[in-house]
């Protein structure tokens, strides 16, 4: 029988396949394409489902960018204090908070301490003694409350403060206790002056007349205070004319700013200063030190640890929204599986293995979440750039957060798609075929 030969029914045994070919990359690409077209056919629903992931990923990237930006901002401010800087402050260490500036108010340091440090500590480059007093500064009708800082010319190299106009006071003026002053830019503004017009003007501090010999370069506000809201005067003048108190042991100080010779000498300098002051203050164990030493690294790491907590809190809360997005995907995939039960039955009947069905739905979930992830990344990058522009940050976009988020989106697709896909794969073909 079968006199008519048909190319369809009578293929040679070689032509006729009896076993499956291995899965190729082309097949995988095709499955992805199929998943894509199935998502496109349900455009609104897919978009709404992706929204959770879009917002989640966008939020993670933006939040991490904000956290990092704030952190690098703080780091820059701390660097603006000067380099290789060590602070020695009067008073007993406050033990409860590492980030605290708060040594006690008792002024236990004296100028001789500063001189001794400059003389004896080999790892120390410059030493600037500091005596502070908050006070009114008056120019004619105008006055402003500012921080009056008594110090020495060493303040310049230690704190990296250069005059914007005029000059710093010199050793001779310090020795004579001349009534000369340098104004920070905030004070210049408050007194209605400009950096150039301020020169040679006479201001009054606590009734004493001071000649302005310079204004200080702009430093900006750091996390602790406005570095431009200060007036510098010679320490000797400060002690005799403004504070008006000289202890028997010499001029009292609030703090001593020290710069180490090199950053690698920071630790050595700190040891030398500590030992020297313990000897001078006779505070060997078990007596507690009456001074506190901090360096820039301490301040940076304290502020970093705060910023890190801040960043992980922001990132963490954004990650939760990402998980909510994942649950949305799971939900819609479950709906999709039950809507397409018959399709699954048909595919199973004509030769789809349960692993084929599993792959189909898993890839659909991954395409959904990954595409949402790409859109969310776009959103996050744009938001990050806008925020950077607004705050003038140069931190850029958190690239690792972008990579991590996309990985996370992939993982979410797999994780939240696994249950619906597994459910689809294990439907009974007959039951699926009979459903409608």
């Amino acid at each position: 029988m079968a006199p008519v030969t048909s190319p369809i029914l009578h293929a040679s045994p070689q032509q006729r396949r009896r076993t499956r070919a291995a899965l190729t990359w082309a097949d995988l690409l095709e499955t992805i394409g199929l998943a894509w077209s199935s998502l496109v056919s349900n455009r609104l629903r897919s978009a709404l489902t992706m929204l959770g992931v879009i917002i989640g990923i966008g939020a993670v990237i933006t939040m991490v960018t904000i956290g990092r930006g704030a952190q690098s901002q703080t780091e820059q401010q701390l660097k603006s204090l000067g380099s290789n800087l060590i602070f020695v402050q009067s008073g007993v260490a406050a033990t409860n908070s590492p980030a605290s500036q708060g040594a006690g108010s008792a002024t236990t340091l004296v100028w001789d301490d500063a001189k001794a440090i400059a003389h004896a500590a080999s790892s120390v480059a410059h030493v600037a003694p500091v005596l502070n007093l908050r006070s009114q500064v008056v120019l004619g009708e105008l006055n402003t409350s500012t921080m009056v800082v008594g110090t020495t010319p060493e303040y310049q190299p230690v704190r990296d403060f250069l005059p914007l106009t005029g000059r710093f006071f010199n050793q001779a003026e310090l020795d004579r206790a001349d009534r000369v002053a340098l104004l920070g830019q905030t004070v210049v503004d408050s007194l209605g002056l400009t950096p150039s017009s301020a020169l040679e003007r006479t201001i009054r501090i606590r009734g004493e007349a001071f000649t302005v010999i310079g204004t200080l370069e702009f430093k900006g506000v750091n996390s602790f205070r406005d570095q431009d809201d200060q007036v510098l005067v010679p320490l000797t003048t400060m002690a005799s004319r403004i504070v008006g108190v000289n202890a028997i042991s010499g001029i009292s100080l609030d703090s001593i700013s020290v710069s180490a010779t090199r950053s690698s000498e920071m630790e050595a300098a700190q040891y030398q200063i500590t030992n020297l002051l313990r000897l001078r203050h006779k505070t060997m164990f078990p007596r507690q030190d009456d001074f506190v030493i901090r360096n820039q690294a301490d301040l940076v790491s304290a502020s970093n640890s705060v910023a890190n907590i801040f960043t992980s809190l922001l990132g963490g809360s954004a990650a939760i929204s990402l998980i909510v997005g994942g649950i949305g995907i799971m939900n819609i995939m479950l709906v999709s599986v039950s809507e397409r039960t018959r399709e699954i039955g048909i595919r199973r009947a004509i030769g789809a293995r349960s692993s084929d069905i599993l792959r189909q739905f898993l890839i659909e979930a991954v395409v959904l979440s990954l595409f949402g992830g790409v859109l969310g990344t776009g959103l996050g990058v744009v938001a990050s750039l806008i925020i950077n522009a607004i705050f003038g940050w140069r931190a850029g976009v958190a690239v690792d957060a972008v990579v991590l988020s996309l990985g996370f989106a992939l993982a979410i697709g797999v994780f939240f798609g696994a249950y619906p896909a597994n459910k689809a794969a294990h439907l009974d073909p007959i039951a699926a075929l009979r459903s409608d």
């Binding site: 369809i8 499956r20 009947a349 030769g351 007959i430 075929l433």
Partner: protein, 221 residues
């Protein structure tokens, strides 16, 4: 080619076991055109699903090409459906999102043919069933008769050993139904083994051989 020995199928209905097929013995040889006829609810589709390896019998032996089907795992059964059996259903069961040619290519996707091969062969089969000009139409753009011919093309595209048709004319008017039956006869004339399920004696009469089913048992016609 197909040999059923003492096949039983029961469904659990709550506490009760509901027998659907009882002691079915049936042998179908290569090239045969068999009609399974019986009233609605007599178990025809259940028998067809077992022959089609979509379902396992509750007891009994099923040999497909001398191979005991009841010992195979799910993937092996799936592969038999894919490579050796073609299904045609009463409700056509095409995927509405896919075009005619995409529907026909589907069994070849799971068999792992290349894209080019798939397209060429699917097109050839669609031309053979007279739908060469409807390749990229979706099912809702086709008449019932055309849809059923797409389904027949899909059943044939992997060159099966046997074509199983469950009430293939059930959703068609008598005229288009007759055209589909002509198509099956033509395929049989070319040597294809066909098992047809129907409740319609006239349709069954187109086959070489009629097996009557009553309450899950094979009875004399």
């Amino acid at each position: 080619m197909i040999q059923l020995v003492g096949i039983n199928k029961t469904y659990a209905m709550g506490e009760m076991l509901l027998p659907i097929l009882r002691d079915i013995d049936l042998t179908i040889i290569r090239g045969e055109y068999t009609a399974i006829m019986g009233a609605s609810g007599s178990g025809k589709s259940s028998l067809m699903n077992i022959i089609g390896c979509l379902e396992r019998p509750s007891s009994g032996k099923y040999y497909f090409d001398a191979r005991d089907i009841t010992t195979l795992n799910d993937n092996q059964l799936t592969d038999i459906r894919n490579f050796r059996i073609g299904f045609v259903f009463q409700q056509f069961n095409l995927l509405s999102r896919l075009t005619a040619i995409e529907n026909v290519m589907l069994p070849m996707v799971y068999a792992g043919y290349s894209r080019l091969e798939r397209r060429q062969r699917a097109e050839a089969v669609l031309v053979q069933v007279g739908l060469g000009d409807r390749l990229v139409n979706r099912p809702n753009q086709l008449s019932g008769g055309q849809q059923q011919r797409v389904a027949i093309a899909r059943a044939l595209v992997n060159q099966p050993d046997v074509l199983l048709a469950d009430e293939p004319t059930g959703a068609l008017d008598s005229h288009t139904g007759a055209a589909v039956m002509d198509q099956l006869n033509e395929l049989h004339d070319r040597g294809l083994t066909i098992v047809l399920v129907t409740h319609d004696a006239q349709v069954a009469g187109r086959a070489e051989r009629i097996v009557s089913l009553h309450d899950g048992r094979i009875v004399a016609p």
